[in-house]
């Protein structure tokens, strides 16, 4: 892995990985060679807790197209969630 294409964002929430559920502190999004997916390059997202051992990690790796679709789906859900919250507040 020789790219430096990555972004790290603080997270509030939980993730489930090999150690079970854990509280996550960061999501690290990168574009690099995958560990498992049969791709030469992939978008990787690691949900981690930097205060726990390295096994506190939930990982995904996918094509750029899948990542764009995922990002669009998250934004769409957030739009609906915001609308729902606004409706509830107005009642």
């Amino acid at each position: 892995m020789c790219t430096s294409i990555e972004q790290s964002v603080p997270m509030t929430g939980s993730a489930k990985g090999a150690i079970g559920w854990f509280t996550m502190t960061e999501a690290v999004v990168s574009y690099d060679h995958p560990t498992h997916a049969m791709l030469e390059q992939s978008v990787k997202i690691d949900f981690v807790n930097l205060g726990l051992p390295p096994g506190a990690r939930a990982a995904v790796e996918m094509t750029k197209e899948s990542a764009r679709a995922l990002a669009a789906a998250i934004l769409a859900v957030l739009r609906d969630a915001d609308a729902q919250d606004a409706y509830e507040r107005a009642r």
Binding site: C2, S8, H33, T35, E40, R57
Partner: protein, 251 residues
């Protein structure tokens, strides 16, 4: 030497600033003396491929050691630890150089070493191999396999990687072998061109081999980037380079 017979074990070496780090050592059985190879693992970590490749060098008659550059970042599966290292911004170049010098010192302390040691690294390990080759005098030869970011823009420099390795080219004093895929994006063919131009300008002893139809990591037989013909030719050139510089070279 009993061809193919070897011993492999985990050892502890004194790395950067004397820190104790783990390493995997594989040696041919027999009295020797044997030439040595230090393997600088790639960014995916101190993983099975590096353990296998350490044994591959032993199979070919070299005392080989692969030290764990991520020792300080916690225990776990190689990919989990590598993800942790990425989340923490990577490992500092100075630390990698200190750790590798420590692994070389360990080799040089073995009674069956022939006195010659080369460094081998792929991916980020290729870049780090070049750094060790330029910034220390502990090696006799170096092998950079598709090391990305030897050429770096100012924007890519970080406190942990403050200087582009190409800037140290003037200090290179040992033979260098470089293997690259022409379809690689990290490093691109243009990056390799820039690196080669600097080596040529400064009159360095190097040989670069570039493969059409191959990109990054074409030795990795378990990944889609594997390229059989390039890998076979690359290994052949690599062992010929080691034979020339570690076995038949005068002391």
């Amino acid at each position: 030497m009993q061809q193919g017979a070897m011993q492999a074990e985990l050892v502890t070496v004194a790395g950067h600033k004397g820190d104790k780090i783990s390493a995997y050592l594989a040696r041919p059985l027999g009295k020797g003396p044997f030439p040595g190879v230090v393997l600088i693992h790639h960014m995916p970590g101190w993983d099975e491929w590096y353990f296998e490749t350490t044994r591959k060098f032993a199979h070919h008659g070299y005392v080989a050691i692969s030290h764990n550059l991520y020792h300080r970042n916690g225990e776990g599966s190689a990919d989990d630890v590598a993800a942790r290292v990425r989340a923490e911004g990577g490992v500092p170049d100075d630390q990698v150089i200190g750790d590798t010098a420590g692994a070389v010192a360990y080799l040089r302390g073995l009674p069956y070493l022939n006195g010659k040691v080369a460094a081998f690294g792929t991916c980020s390990g290729g870049r780090q191999t070049y750094l060790v080759a330029c910034r220390t005098k502990v090696l006799d030869a170096a092998i950079d396999c598709w090391g990305g970011r030897v050429v770096m823009t100012k924007e890519e420099l970080t406190p942990k990687q403050p200087v582009a390795p190409i800037e140290y080219t003037k200090d290179l004093s040992i033979p260098l072998l470089g293997l690259f895929g022409n379809e690689d994006k990290f490093p691109t063919a243009d990056h390799v061109n820039q690196h080669e131009a600097e080596l040529k300008r400064l009159g360095k002893n190097y040989e670069f081999h570039r493969y059409d139809g191959a990109g990054h990591g074409f030795f990795y037989y378990d990944r889609p980037m594997y390229r059989l013909e390039a890998a076979q030719d690359g290994w052949k050139k690599l062992f010929a380079f080691l034979e020339k510089n570690l076995v038949t070279a005068k002391k």
